[in-house]
Symmetry: C2
Subunit: 299 residues, 2 copies
């Protein structure tokens, strides 16, 4: 392939490690860009690689999204202005999937609004396990092709390799989709707890009988660990039921403020996450399935 048409993987700050692994799998070049702040708080962006005529994949995971969105929008626009053949976004963690309905009059349905904004900026999107709940597929809210990579096979492989006699536990009903997929692929039984949410941080868990699985190691699986309130309640429950040393697995290590240390303090024997949000708990690499989803867009 002539050099001019080699696809370009362009990491936003903090996304260089995953971008490098994706580029190797995709026979793409890792490009360079610069993002900084002027003293007045405005963002400055610059593409340092030639994008003309090339297929470009920006890599930017979208935890704490508001600060990242403006420079990301500018960089995508700049790549288009400078003649990129196509500009896509690899956002291993996709933000704004939780406010997917108007729960109170006047609320913004930000999942759809954010999707419209991103759809105006890029030609395609690849993400990992977006929090689909009332919205069934990304195509309902994204106006560009948007592919959701499943983390379950990689999580199941990790469970098989690291946990003897696992019981896969979903901390709430919304986690059913990930939990069943992981349990089935790991050949393990699973149970799903029920949750009542009273506010951002106030969560109570009511639960089925897990005591009959005593002797197994509980592997609690959820898509996003943010405040960890749900996980902490679930850890408490399985421990009280006699399943000691539970392992917590999250796809996305969002971890608001002290949530990680609070989860360990609550009795999680180990906390393991995928590499969608850079964090000390990352142990499950997803560059292979993400690269497979990106490949068709670079052709």
């Amino acid at each position: 392939m002539p050099r001019g048409s080699t696809p370009l993987v362009l990491p936003m700050p903090g996304n260089g490690d995953l971008a490098g692994r994706l580029a190797r799998r995709l026979s793409a070049e890792v490009g360079a860009l610069s993002v900084r702040r002027f003293p007045d708080g405005e963002s400055y962006v610059r593409l340092l690689s030639n994008v003309a005529g090339r297929s470009v994949a920006l890599v930017c995971t979208l935890d704490r999204p508001d600060d990242k969105l403006v420079p990301l929008y500018f960089l995508a626009a700049t790549a288009r202005e400078l003649g990129a053949a196509r500009v896509g976004l690899v956002a291993p963690y996709l933000a704004y999937m939780r406010q997917d309905a108007r729960f109170q009059p006047g609320e913004g349905v930000t999942s759809a609004q954010f999707a419209r904004l991103l759809s105006s900026a890029v030609d395609w999107l690849v993400t990992v396990d977006p929090h689909l709940h009332r919205v069934a597929t990304l195509a309902e809210i994204y106006q560009v092709p948007a592919v959701a990579v499943a983390a379950a096979p990689a999580i199941a492989a990790w469970v098989r390799a690291h946990v003897a006699e696992p019981l896969v536990v979903g901390p709430d009903s919304e986690s059913e989709q990930w939990v069943r997929a992981v349990a089935d692929a790991a050949g393990a039984p699973h149970v799903v707890l029920a949750k009542v949410r009273r506010g951002d941080r106030d969560v109570e868990v009511s639960v089925p009988d897990v005591a009959r699985w005593r002797g197994r190691t509980a592997v609690l699986v959820d898509d996003i660990i943010s405040t960890a309130g749900t996980m902490i309640e679930a850890v408490g429950h399985v421990r009280r039921a006699g399943l000691v040393d539970p392992v917590c697995v999250g796809v996305h290590a969002v971890f608001a403020s002290d949530a990680y240390s609070e989860l360990l303090a609550a009795g999680a024997a180990r906390v393991v996450t995928c590499d969608t949000v850079l964090h000390a708990s990352n142990a499950i690499a997803l560059d292979e399935p993400v690269a497979a989803a990106v490949r068709p867009f670079l052709a």
Copy 2:
């Protein structure tokens, strides 16, 4: 006018004072909205006023813009979804006007990119003295009607009322446009200094002979005071030329980090700004000309 069609002025957090004054001048209602952050860093927005069928003016000045843009975009989209007849933006300070060209290869021309983003969110824009330099008018980069209110008449009135024997001084060539307008309206002479910029904070001033105006009070006028580097150099120059106790007037009190106290420490006898960015130095109210510019959009 039936209540349902009373125009609605909706202040984003921190913009309530100006919004209240605008609403009084426009016989509009001040509406309410809520903006907060979820623990994971995402923004939550809610309109607390009924917008259906009404003309809406969001008020959000855009210093430190990146954090404000996402909730602003969501609120404008929500107002449209909920049936607002028209949704405009009053941004007394308009961000991203300074990167108006590709100075280095690969740079984003963020003035035009930001304009496109705002133009996708609202139906009209009113601002005060945007930093027009290589771009001659807002219409070159905004796809919706965009009106620039001039602060010069109000600044000139302040100078006439507060400074005897003024010499209006422009700290650099880019300030020529504001300085001439203020001087002419104030019936005062003016001079413009020349500036060489070496970086965000490194500025040197080379100057015409201002010593012949000794005995007058120098009134340094610029559109944006951000790092205050330009103003501080200019204050030093006029003081060395024998014009003691200079007064600094800025349209937009952006003031990065300690710039305000540094400007006072450099020998500015007084620092005065318009009320486009809330700051202790605000002394010149612009709600009257801003309301006049907004009025046609609410009809």
